[in-house]
Amino acid sequence: MIGLNHFLTLSTILFCIGIFGVLTRRNAIGILMSIELMFNAVNINFVAFSRFVTPTALVGQIFAIFIITIAAAEATVGLAIVLLIYRNFKGINVDNINIMKW
């Protein structure tokens, strides 16, 4: 039987993969994609808690839908930033974007 713990484990694995991606990817698009993975891990948590803790109310599911929507908007903005970075730095390798230091 698949229980809450399984979902939580899945979402933890997903989140960790996302974190790992954010911290290690050198490609800006890859970072954005990793952030999406983290979102989805959170969404799974919401839905899972909603399903197992308060099965009658659909609060978690609705919240997940909101997050998906907002994440879409966020992805737009993020891709626009990546586009601008590409234009300014002739590439999207984040190692080269280091002007924010002393």
């Binding site: 974190i19 954010v22 911290l23 290690t24 970072i31 984040v94 190692d95 974007i97 280091n98 002007i99 924010m100 230091k101 002393w102």
Partner: protein, 642 residues
């Protein structure tokens, strides 16, 4: 009603301030301001004398100047007949000298400064005349001393001139010491500085006789210094180094008159202290004779006039000491005009010939007629020839002297009159007549400009007529004016008049015979009496005497004090203190640079080092930051869970 009289001294003071602060650069304007101020003062002085003539009651105005815990020092003005006459004389002579100076000082680089000094001098003298108490008169007395120093040493590039200024200042200061002691004695005894209150105390016998005599003698010391009386007369001949208008101003009407004025002003005290009065008379008598005899042989035109001034002042002092208040002040009044004229005339001659030595002049009469004629008028007046003003005042002096039981004063008086006539006409004959001795200087000579000759003519007019107010037959003449309380009329003494005129005429004739006709050779006389001539020529060796007994010891003492005490002790102490301070500073400097600075710099470099270490963390790599945030979050969670 006469309270406006304070304006009289104030105007020259204002002129002085204006010139010094504003118009210094504009020479013409400066001289005009100065002349304008003194002429306005002159107009006021005429108003004063007119109203005093109408109503001769003395008037006094005063205000409290200092209030020291109940002890009050006042300033004020006292206007009586004596003040009114002095105001008139000072203003008249001063304004004429101002005008004359425009011509005489033409082209001097310090032209404006000269006029500012003249104004300051007039201010001091007028203030002195108006003073109504001893403190005030002392203040103005010292101001006169200061300005005379400035004026005598006006050409201070010349060593002799600056020395003469110092000599005048220091010598008169010697007398002033006595003056201030006298003031202190008298005011302590009488309890007031005010003249009239003190005279009242003297008249009612509130001051013990001994103290009064002592105070009067000390007071007279001031007059001795200022009026160049024996033995403090030495400064006046040297003061001839100043510009000639200054000599005329200082030695005719103002500074030297201050001493005579002081004795006249405090006459009440001397009348009450006959011993002091006798001292005054004796000093005056000695001075009159000594100075006149020195004047016989001097060769510098201004020095002859200087000794003549000393001698005439001695005359005045002598007669004041004999109680001749009217005669003394009357002679002061007439003397001011003809002596100013003599000095200004001498100035005109010096201006023309560029020399002071009478033996380099000669035959100037056709070249400078106005100067010569006015000079001769003044000489006649000072010699006491009827009916010029000098005659009347000299006659009055001799009349007073003849009333004194001891005939010495009368004899000296007549002798001095003869000597005066002789040396004055010696000057006239040598300077204006005979053959020119220095052809180059003679050709260069010319009459002075109008601005110089007009004052000469005005003074000549006054030298002739000013004395007529004192003609003994006039019942309301000078004597009754000055003595408003008890009308005083000197009875004309015809024998004395004739004798004094004869003596004066014989003096003139002697000069005529020796220096014009050459029937008596001065050289032979010189050869016959070498010792008296040498003594007179060297002015009785007063300067040398003072050099030996006063100046040299003081110089030696000063040298000793300088070399031993100043250099040896004081300087060493000062230097020791200085060195110690330098050492302390060195120590402190080391402390500063090593410890304080080290601490300050250490803190700074610590901050910098920390900063440069820590800034490595800020890589600019977003992922590094994210890693730190994540790692931190994990740590927090682990911490919370445990």
């Amino acid at each position: 009603m006469l309270s406006f009289a304070w304006i009289i001294p104030l105007l020259p003071l204002l002129a002085f301030i204006t010139i010094v602060f504003f118009t210094r650069r504009n020479q013409k304007l400066s001289s005009l301001i100065s002349i304008g101020a003194i002429c306005l003062s002159w107009i006021f002085s005429v108003i004063v004398i007119a109203s005093v003539l109408k109503n001769p009651v003395p008037s006094e105005f005063e205000f409290t100047w200092l209030n020291l815990m109940g002890f009050q020092v006042k300033m004020g003005i006292l206007i009586d007949s004596l003040t009114a006459i002095m105001l008139f004389v000072v203003c008249t002579v001063s304004s004429l000298v101002h005008i004359y100076s425009v011509g005489y000082m033409q082209g001097d680089p310090r032209f404006s400064r000269f006029f500012s000094f003249l104004s300051l001098f007039s201010f001091s003298m007028l203030g002195l005349v108006l003073a109504n108490n001893f403190v005030e008169i002392f203040v103005f007395w010292e101001l006169v001393g200061l300005t005379s120093y400035l004026l005598i040493g006006f050409w201070f590039e010349k060593k002799t001139a600056s020395d003469a200024g110092k000599k005048a200042f220091i010598t008169t200061r010697t007398g002033d010491l006595g003056f201030i002691v006298g003031i202190l004695i008298l005011t302590t005894a009488a309890g007031t500085f005010n003249f009239r209150e003190m005279f009242h105390a003297v008249e009612t016998g509130q001051i013990p006789f001994g103290i009064l005599t002592l105070g009067a003698i000390f007071l007279f010391a001031g007059a001795v210094g200022k009026s160049a009386q024996f033995p403090l007369h030495v400064w006046l001949p040297d003061a001839m180094e100043g510009p000639t208008p200054v000599s005329a101003l200082i030695h005719a009407a103002t500074m030297v008159a201050a001493g005579v004025y002081l004795v006249a002003r405090t006459m009440t005290i001397y009348l009450a202290a006959p011993n002091a009065a006798l001292v005054v008379a004796s000093i005056g008598c000695i001075t009159a004779f000594m100075a006149a005899s020195i004047g016989l042989v001097q060769n510098d035109i201004k020095r002859v006039l200087a000794y003549s001034t000393i001698s005439q002042l001695g005359y005045m002092i002598m007669v004041l000491g004999l109680g001749g208040y009217t005669a003394g002040t009357f002679h002061l009044y007439t003397h001011a005009f003809f002596k100013a004229l003599l000095f200004l005339g001498a100035g005109s001659v010096i201006h023309a010939t560029q020399t002071n030595d009478i033996w380099e002049m000669g035959g100037l009469y056709p070249k400078m007629k106005i100067t010569a004629i006015t000079f001769i008028i003044a000489s006649l007046s000072i010699a006491g020839i009827f009916p010029l003003s000098g005659f009347w005042s000299k006659d009055e002096i001799l009349t007073v002297a003849s009333h004194y039981p001891n005939p010495i004063f009368l004899i000296v008086g007549i002798l001095v009159a003869g000597m005066t006539a002789f040396y004055m006409f010696r000057l006239c004959f040598v300077t204006f007549f005979g053959k020119p001795r220095d052809q180059h200087k003679f050709e260069h000579a010319h009459e002075s400009p109008k601005v110089m000759t007009v004052p000469l003519m005005i003074l000549a007019f006054l030298s002739v007529f000013a004395g007529w107010v004192g003609i003994p037959w006039l019942q309301h003449g000078y004597g009754s004016f000055v003595f408003h309380q008890e009308p005083h009329h000197a009875e004309p003494n015809y024998i004395l008049m004739i004798v004094s005129t004869l003596v004066a005429l014989s003096g003139i004739y002697l000069a005529y015979a020796m220096y014009y006709k050459k029937s008596i050779s001065p050289e032979k006389l010189k050869a016959k009496f070498p010792f008296p001539y040498k003594v007179l020529y060297n002015k009785y060796y007063f300067d040398e005497l003072y050099q030996i007994i006063i100046i040299n010891p003081i110089m030696k003492l000063s040298g000793f004090l300088f070399n031993r005490v100043d250099v040896g002790v004081v300087d060493r102490l000062v230097n020791g203190a200085g060195n110690f301070t330098v050492f302390l500073s060195d120590v402190k400097e080391w402390f500063d640079s090593h410890i304080v600075d080290g601490a300050v710099n250490g803190i700074a470099s610590l901050a910098r080092g920390t900063g440069s270490g820590l800034r490595r963390i800020q890589t600019g790599q977003l992922q590094n930051y994210a890693f730190v945030i994540f790692f931190g979050l994990v740590l927090i969670i682990l911490f919370k869970l445990s």
